[in-house]
């Protein structure tokens, strides 16, 4: 994959300090955001941003393009919805069930998919996710196209009422921060280093004794689990789980978010998700067909804008001054 690589180790000190400052600003912005913007919208953005980041863990850092990530996102949203609504699980446990379910699903799908690389991988994940879609369509507990409705948000740890929009927002923000931190940690860990080396030169990694398929599967499962975290949280935000979350169009959307924000950047997918969600909201009220615009953005991104918003910024002169420019 012709992607820019991660924040390099040789960023200078001022750069790092500025980056930390930016991070702090961003965090403060997220803390005050619900007082300015519509909370449910923000929560949606956060969920999708986490989803896109999870997806990017696979694409950007392992070089595997999955066209079936909706299965994990949507799958988790059903699992969480089911245990919370039907079995009365508390929200935090419900989300954990979603994560575990998505990870398990990732293990099964990954087992088949990592046998092929590149576009084959994309096609195989697409096909497997489509199977899962049909499963969800027909399974009893998903309630077909009615969807799993009226999932209660419940009380976090038994005492924080999540029906309170602000409580819910900060809960989602917490999940988001944990998720992003987990991704950041994985990328900048010994394991992440191996992933990177596999992406750089797979044969060489094998000859050094790494069973690359296991590492890839590991990354796939982690990515699936984090996508599940996003999906489970989203169920609580909207209080329903429906087929749209497992449909292949959703897999396409998350690719778009990542591509638009910048493949292989930590923050790119967050921007990408924000952009796409805003766009969908905005276009809902206009008469312009949404899919057409989505498709156009896709095409333009691929043709002239491959590094995405953040990628282009990092590569720009300002980005360089901030120590963000990375080697291509």
């Amino acid at each position: 994959m012709n992607t820019s690589t991660i924040t390099s180790t040789d960023t200078n000190n001022t750069g790092t300090r500025i980056q930390l400052a930016l991070l702090a600003v961003a965090f403060i912005a997220l803390l005050v955001a619900p007082f300015v913007f519509y909370p449910i919208f923000l929560m949606k953005v956060l969920c999708f941003a986490l989803f896109a980041c999870a997806f990017n863990l696979l694409l950007g850092y392992t070089g595997l393009l999955s066209f079936g990530h909706a299965a994990f996102f949507g799958g988790a949203s059903y699992f969480t919805g089911y245990v919370v609504k039907e079995l009365g699980f508390p929200p935090e446990l419900g989300i954990l069930v979603g994560v575990a379910g998505a990870a398990l699903l990732g293990l099964v799908m990954g087992f088949f998919a990592i046998r092929r690389q590149g576009i084959y991988f994309a096609m195989v994940t697409l096909a497997l996710a489509q199977m899962f879609y049909f499963f969800c369509l027909q399974a009893e507990f998903t309630h077909g196209e009615d969807g799993l409705q009226g999932v209660p948000r419940g009380h976090l740890f038994g005492f924080i009422d999540l029906n309170e929009p602000l409580n819910m927002y900060f809960f989602v923000l917490g999940v988001f921060v944990i998720g992003i931190f987990a991704i950041w940690r994985i990328v900048h860990s010994p394991f992440g280093m191996i992933l990177k080396s596999i992406r750089e030169n797979e044969d060489r990694a094998i000859s050094l004794g790494y069973s690359v398929n296991r590492y890839k599967l590991g990354a796939f499962v982690m990515s699936a689990a984090l996508a599940g975290l996003a999906g489970g949280t989203k169920t609580l935000v909207f209080q329903f789980a429906t087929l749209t979350d497992v449909a292949w169009q959703m897999s396409g959307e998350v690719i778009l978010m990542t591509l638009l924000g910048g493949i292989g950047t930590i923050f790119g997918p967050i921007f990408g998700a924000g952009f796409v969600v805003t766009l969908q909201n905005y276009l809902a009220a206009s008469s312009f067909p949404v899919t057409v615009l989505t498709g156009l953005i896709f095409m333009i991104c691929v043709l002239v804008f491959r590094r995405g918003i953040i990628g282009e910024f990092n590569a720009s002169r300002l980005g360089a001054r901030l120590g963000l420019r990375t080697k291509q």
């Binding site: 393009l65 088949f112 576009i119 994309a122 096909a127 292949w248 690719i255 067909p289 057409v292 896709f298």
Partner: protein, 295 residues
């Protein structure tokens, strides 16, 4: 009465034939996909959209210009092929030197735009397109009533598939194509205009999809969505067949069509996933696909 797996042999034969008809469409579509992939290394996600455009082109030619089915059979693929050529010239060719995934993503975007646009102008419930007069009606084969048009589809698709196969395996142009797949630069240094060849190949692939589309128009509802789900099935077929192989694409297309048809009788609920299941099994046993060369 002779029974096979608990159903009468007549019904069984009927279902086999039906499967073959579906396989005809699969074969034509996976053939086009295989050709485009073989030459351009692009997974043409827009293939479903081009199939749909073929059907629409036929329908519009009829309503606007009164062009009948037979002419549409020629013009619709040509028109769609031309749009493919434009796309290749102005966009796809910029992506050849990049990771193949970008080709996939670009054509994915293209598919969204095309389907979205048609849906915007023509709604989603579809448009009527009648079976041509001389092909309407049917013959009773004893074991089933075969609409003549369906018989025609099988024959025509066999002709198209064999014709394309001959074109690529047996002609000089085909030799250029195959050689260019291996080493485009060298072929170009022999004085062959490879960029043009690539452009035409994409046009051909798109045209084949459109041909399948116009042939489908009298059978399936002409709708902007007619290709969007089909394409995923065709992807699976191509994975089963092995990506590079033209013959593999054709044979797998027919075979899986028949298999799917039989599933509709024995276990209809599974008929939409049977191809995916086969794909998973094939991946386990032969990761390169049934006809693919090992990487």
């Amino acid at each position: 009465m002779i029974m096979i797996f608990g159903i009468p042999i007549q019904a069984f034969l009927g279902q086999l034939l039906i499967g073959l008809i579906n396989g005809s469409f699969y074969a034509m579509l996976s053939l086009g996909l295989a050709i485009i992939f073989g030459m351009l290394r692009v997974i043409n996600f827009a293939h479903g959209a081009q199939y749909m455009m073929g059907a629409f082109a036929g329908m519009l030619l009829l309503t606007w210009l009164g062009v009948n089915y037979w002419f549409a059979l020629i013009f619709a693929p040509v028109i769609v092929g031309l749009t493919g050529i434009v796309v290749e010239r102005f966009a796809l060719r910029r992506l050849y030197n990049l990771d193949h995934l970008y080709g996939l993503l670009f054509t994915f975007g293209l598919a969204l735009v095309v389907e979205g646009t048609f849906r915007y102008f023509y709604g989603s419930s579809g448009q009527p397109y009648a079976t041509p007069e001389i092909l309407s009606g049917g013959v009773n084969l004893g074991f089933m009533y075969l609409p003549i048009y369906r018989g025609w589809v099988v024959v025509a698709s066999l002709i198209v598939c064999i014709g394309t196969w001959v074109l690529i395996e047996k002609t000089r142009l085909g030799a250029y194509l195959r050689a260019a797949t291996e080493n485009p630069i060298l072929v170009q240094s022999f004085g062959i205009n490879v960029p043009l060849l690539l452009t035409l190949t994409y046009g051909l692939g798109a045209g084949l999809a459109a041909l399948a589309g116009i042939m489908a128009a009298p059978i399936y509802q002409v709708s902007p969505l007619m290709g969007s789900n089909l394409i995923i099935v065709v992807f699976a077929i191509v994975v089963v067949g092995g990506m590079g192989s033209i013959l593999g694409a054709i044979i797998t297309g027919y075979a899986l069509g028949i298999l799917e048809g039989l599933t509709k009788v024995f276990y209809p609920e599974a008929s939409n996933i049977v191809i995916f299941v086969i794909m998973a099994l094939v991946l386990l046993v032969r990761p390169a696909g049934l006809f693919g060369r090992e990487a």
